[in-house]
Subunit: 294 residues, 2 copies
């Protein structure tokens, strides 16, 4: 049995970028001490979720990759001998920014980057203002712990993204994410949303016969407009096996480090008896590249 | 609020084709009495699941559509004034057979057919022997109760199929299905499989913002080879709303008629705040029509 020991770092963030990164690094070191080979951080873990408003000053938070934050994390990857999936606000050129996941190899080199392809925009999540849609495509990143299908947050609602990563040989899907409740919604609506978010990601594991790791931020962040509104990030970070079965899950409140051991041999075993890739009707999927068909 | 009252008919089947159809018809009449506008039957409800073995004599079970069974169901559709989704073994030509869903309008006319596109084949489910893969594509069927995205069983594992139906304007996904346990599997494996089956179908509702109805057969059917093996069909027929929330669900044992009222206005409301169709990266989905990318 070939296994992978992974860690999920569910965090709350303050305005203090350096302090947030220090918290992440503390968790990475603890994860390594517990035997982790792979550590996954949540979306934009270096600060509060700034997309609750459209403010040009927020672009000052962006950094090149490589840059100060990725360098700091790279040093920890090397120090601890772990692969790290980090999520940073990338400054690519003046006026050109991406929501980018960077994968740091255990020797501190950059194994690869993924620029968020699907960009949301709805009240409180004004991402289309900040993030240019990714142009690197759905390309898994090769690392010493396997070929990682790294996607980011809103991508999680798209079966196409997961499928493309699987078709390109991803052995594991990874979603750094930042999703939460509007506190004005009813408890029933809030639970439907959280459950839908878990269900759709478990379904990517099932459809593709590969495990999924999703790491979400946690805690309340007030909107900067002092309207009293804000987002209660629901945590619930989890890992699922290749039949979608939950292997570990964090709570909806509070920071948490979740360790999980993933059996990497199960994927081929499950795919042999549920051979979904064998039977895809690629002769009849042309309309998937249309916006709509009526 | 525009609603649709639908009925799910979860059945066990004997060797008696006429008796099985009579059971279906009794349930359809009861559903109509309870106010159903749409009645969904399970996959191949006219008989036992014959694909547990490869036997040329089973082709004798196939019928043209229209044909005796569809005529009988059409008469009931007209009598009760309900739309019926039936699932028949279609004889299209000598030596050419399909696993076909037929939708009967409430006036007894045939609203349309869907020929199962994804054909499974694994021990106990030798469908590739019997069923030519469908050639009608993923085309929803217009009826008096809406545009129905009818798919069949194995299709349920393919997000592509659900997406294509949604892109073609389907307002509701419908899966007649016949899936069950190998009694030799452990209880844990059995539960993982059933839960995966529910999860993947709920995910199609979520990804596309439309409700899902899935109707499965129930009960044990011994393999015809008298090896003592067989399939325990797990029932669990269900309807889910457009956030994947379960609206009704049948048990794992025993025949059951489930009634459900679906709010058809919720789909657009949910899509407005979760506008997944807006953000699909159709410029980067070309590889979905490849078998594999490495």
């Amino acid at each position: 049995m070939k296994t992978l020991k992974a860690a999920l770092v569910q965090q709350s963030c303050s305005e203090d970028t350096s302090g947030n990164l220090s918290n992440s690094i503390t968790a990475i070191r603890e994860a390594a001490r517990l035997g982790a080979q792979l550590v996954v951080l949540q979306e934009l873990h270096a600060g509060p979720y700034f997309c609750q408003t459209e403010d040009t000053r927020c672009f000052d938070l962006a950094e090149p990759i490589p840059g100060p934050s990725s360098d700091r994390l790279a040093a920890v990857a090397r120090e601890c001998g772990v692969v790290i999936v980090a999520s940073l606000f990338e400054r690519r050129a003046p006026g050109l920014y991406h929501n980018t996941a960077v994968v740091l190899e255990k020797d501190g080199t950059i194994a690869g980057k993924y620029r968020k392809m699907h960009i949301p925009d709805d009240p409180g999540f004004y991402e289309k203002f900040y993030f240019t849609p990714g142009d690197l495509g759905f390309v898994p990143i090769d690392t010493s712990v396997g070929r990682l299908g790294v996607l980011v947050c809103w991508d999680q609602w798209y079966p196409e993204a997961a499928r493309l990563m699987a078709l390109a040989g991803a052995e594991l899907l990874i979603y750094p994410t930042a999703i939460g409740w509007d506190p004005h919604d009813t408890a029933e609506e809030q639970e439907r949303q959280r459950d839908a978010w878990i269900t759709i990601q478990r379904s990517h594991a099932i459809a593709n016969g590969i495990p999924v790791i999703s790491v979400n931020r946690v805690g309340f962040e007030a909107a900067p407009d002092s309207s009293g509104s804000g987002i209660r990030f629901w945590g619930s970070s989890f890992a699922a096996g290749c039949q979608g079965e939950i292997l570990t899950q964090a709570g909806t409140e509070g920071e948490q480090l979740c360790m999980v051991e993933i059996d990497l041999t199960r994927s081929e075993n499950v795919r042999r008896i549920w051979p979904f890739l064998r039977d895809r009707r690629i002769d009849s999927y042309q309309d998937l590249i249309k916006r709509y068909c009526t």
